[in-house]
């Protein structure tokens, strides 16, 4: 922490002037503030503008991220939304039921189905989606011409900024029952496709959509890691007789290792959250059997079926397990010698 010698404001200037001069006991406390450290009151006066600046964001976060945590008590209630038209008043007057909602969840086969779908989808994405940005980044990094690089990057980044509604709609137009591919097949005497409504292939479809939308965006991090590799390493390797493949194996990939490890760990930590919006948009077309994940399960039971206590309990279970996973993942990152999301 580099603390400048220039006082931040008049308050600090006064303080630094006074502190050495003030005799012990003159301020009434009898304690001299340690050198270089200001009293709380003076620090507050010095930093009040900065504190004021952070205030709106802190208030928003407290209101919309922390206050709702308290609302999770409906998981232990038989919450009745019709007691009053204000949710908080309803919470205060709803009967407590203990762990009944949790019991119902664990006995509900639809919940376990959602758990299974979530995990299957997570592993599919890990195997089919995760390596693609790395390969693309290696490919783009090996392109020498700046113009080719710039144009292909601009195109590959683009879908990341499209909404899920748009991405799903594009897929529907191309692969749907009345879509382009289906029409082409029918024109040539084959059966049409039903990829968009087929429960058996739905998880692959979802993965393909994720790849289309975000694989290009994912290369940014890897390109940055590649750009930071010293060219001297490549030259040294070449002098030692390594051809381009050996150089990729012994120089490029080790340079990517920390980023790959970090992203992998983060992804595992986020395993229970897979594509909520994306799947919600397609849930009705495929049916909950194949499409329901934990997030859509909560949405369906809470928002649609108004079974708030039950849905909140499911959400709470998911949230607690997710939090645990993130913390474990971060711990693993630290053990592997990487920085993780936060520092130790």
């Amino acid at each position: 922490m580099s603390h400048s010698t220039v006082p931040r404001s008049r308050a600090e200037a006064e303080a630094t002037e006074k502190t050495p001069a003030a005799p012990d006991g003159a301020t009434g406390t009898g304690k001299k503030p340690p050198a270089g450290k200001l009293s709380l009151r003076l620090r507050f006066r010095r930093d009040r503008a900065l504190l004021l600046m952070t205030l709106p964001a802190v208030l928003l976060v407290l209101l919309f991220n922390y206050v709702p945590i308290l609302g999770n008590v409906v998981a232990f209630q038989n919450y009745d939304p019709y007691i009053s038209d204000n949710g908080i008043v309803s919470i205060l007057h709803s009967p407590w039921v203990g762990l009944e909602n949790f019991q119902r969840i664990f006995e509900d086969s639809a919940f376990w189905n959602a758990v299974q779908n979530t995990l299957v989808l997570f592993f599919l994405q890990l195997v089919l989606y995760f390596p693609i940005p790395i390969l693309l980044a290696l490919l783009i990094n090996s392109v020498v011409r700046p113009r080719v690089r710039a144009i292909s990057q601009a195109i590959l980044y683009l879908p990341h900024f499209f909404s899920w509604v748009l991405v799903v709609a594009v897929f529907q137009q191309l692969l749907g029952g009345a879509g382009l591919l289906s029409t082409l097949l029918r024109d040539h005497g084959y059966d049409g496709l039903s990829v968009m409504t087929d429960p058996d292939t739905f998880k692959f479809l979802v993965t393909a959509q994720s790849v289309w939308k975000d694989a290009g965006w994912g290369i940014i991090v890897f390109l940055a890691a590649l750009a930071s590799v010293s060219p001297d390493l490549y030259e040294a390797a070449a002098m030692d007789g390594a051809n381009r493949w050996r150089r990729m194996w012994h120089v490029t990939l080790p340079a990517l290792r920390p980023v790959i490890a970090l992203l992998l760990v983060l992804r595992v930590g986020d395993a229970l959250t897979v594509g909520f919006e994306q799947i919600l948009l397609q849930r009705d077309a495929v049916g909950p059997g194949a499409a329901e994940v934990l997030d859509t399960f909560v949405w369906w039971n809470g928002v649609r079926n108004q079974d708030f206590g039950f849905a909140a309990a499911a959400g709470l279970v998911k949230g607690v397990i997710s939090l645990g996973l993130v913390l474990i993942a971060n711990k693993v990152a630290h053990l592997m010698g990487e920085q993780g999301v936060y520092k130790k």
């Binding site: 908080i88 529907q172 909560v298 936060y342």
Partner: protein, 311 residues
């Protein structure tokens, strides 16, 4: 090594390939072709669907009927679909809602985030570690859909545009990116401004922000895209169909294959193809994003990395 100077070196243009180091092998034709092909296919996989959507939205009913659906090669170009959609009615209103929410929301989000990021960027300031912890912790947990829904409803935000802005107004990640960038600005510069009598607000406005144009552009784009693409909050908190933003109308038109209100008759009888209308709505949804993001693109890397994985 003795340098042989025979020709003055040409000044390389912006797009000129950098000189190859002597030790690097020359790429063979097969390798180059393979690389080019993979890159081309990847780019086509993204551009081809967009091309079809745009072309179909510009096609007449006749051209669409002849193609038996989506049009790949433009023959008759017409703007009827856009004229119909933008001549008042459901889609016009939805586009206006989306634009309004995006403008107001982005402005609000940027104001709150920039202030907060600067407030946290001066190390050693009172309580900045605590505030940082409070913000960072939210990256690890979410309160859950149901409690958030009940809160927004209790606050009386239901059926109000505020419900589309406030609950998701700030992203802690974006604040961290901004903070990381602000922390990179030299302390001497800020100190000298302070000696000249500038307060924190003036320093932020006159010194820090002008120096951070690149990252401000990136974060503005992130927030704007977030508001423009959002549909879930609207489906959750709005009941009034007339208040729905463009994405939600697109769900009805394209996914559920409904005709836009007021256009059903025109589609049944007139020149207009229902498919062209759907595609036109999709183009309207993707156009602003596709036009804006390439301008900010060259800052992405810098913006994403300055604050990305730092506490």
């Amino acid at each position: 090594m003795t340098a042989v100077i025979d020709k003055p070196a040409r000044t390389p243009g912006r797009w000129a390939a950098p000189p190859r180091p002597v030790w690097e092998e020359k790429a063979g034709p097969a390798g180059l072709a393979a690389k080019g092909l993979v890159l081309l296919l990847a780019c086509l996989a993204i551009l081809f669907p967009l091309w079809i959507v745009v072309v179909t939205s510009l096609s007449t009913r006749k051209a669409i009927d002849e193609a038996g659906g989506l049009v790949m090669i433009p023959t008759d170009v017409t703007f009827v679909a856009y004229q119909e959609l933008l001549s008042g009615g459901q889609v016009t209103r939805a586009a206006a809602v989306s634009i309004g929410v995006t403008l107001v929301g982005t402005l609000f989000s940027m104001a709150v985030s920039v202030l907060c990021a600067y407030g946290l960027s001066r190390s050693g300031s009172l309580g900045h570690r605590w505030v940082l912890m409070v913000l960072l912790a939210t990256m690890f947990f979410s309160a859950g859909l149901i409690p958030t829904y009940l809160l927004v409803q209790s606050l009386g935000l239901t059926d109000s545009y505020l419900a589309l802005i406030l609950p998701s107004a700030i992203s802690v990640f974006n604040i961290l990116v901004l903070r990381g960038f602000f922390m990179g600005i030299s302390q001497e510069l800020i100190d000298s401004a302070r000696i000249d009598g500038a307060g924190d607000f003036r320093i932020l406005w006159r010194i820090v922000m002008p120096l951070s144009r690149a990252v401000l552009a990136v974060i503005t784009l992130f927030y704007a895209v977030g508001y423009w693409s959002a549909w879930f909050n609207a489906s959750l908190y709005l009941n009034d169909q007339d208040m729905m933003p463009l994405q939600n109308v697109m769900i009805q038109l394209v996914q559920k294959q409904e005709a836009p209100v007021g256009l059903g008759q025109a589609i049944k009888t007139g020149e207009l193809s229902g498919l062209a209308v759907q595609m036109a709505v999709m183009v309207m949804a993707l156009l602003p994003v596709a036009v804006l993001s390439p301008f900010v693109q060259r800052h992405f890397k810098k913006g994403m990395l300055t604050g990305a994985v730092k506490g």
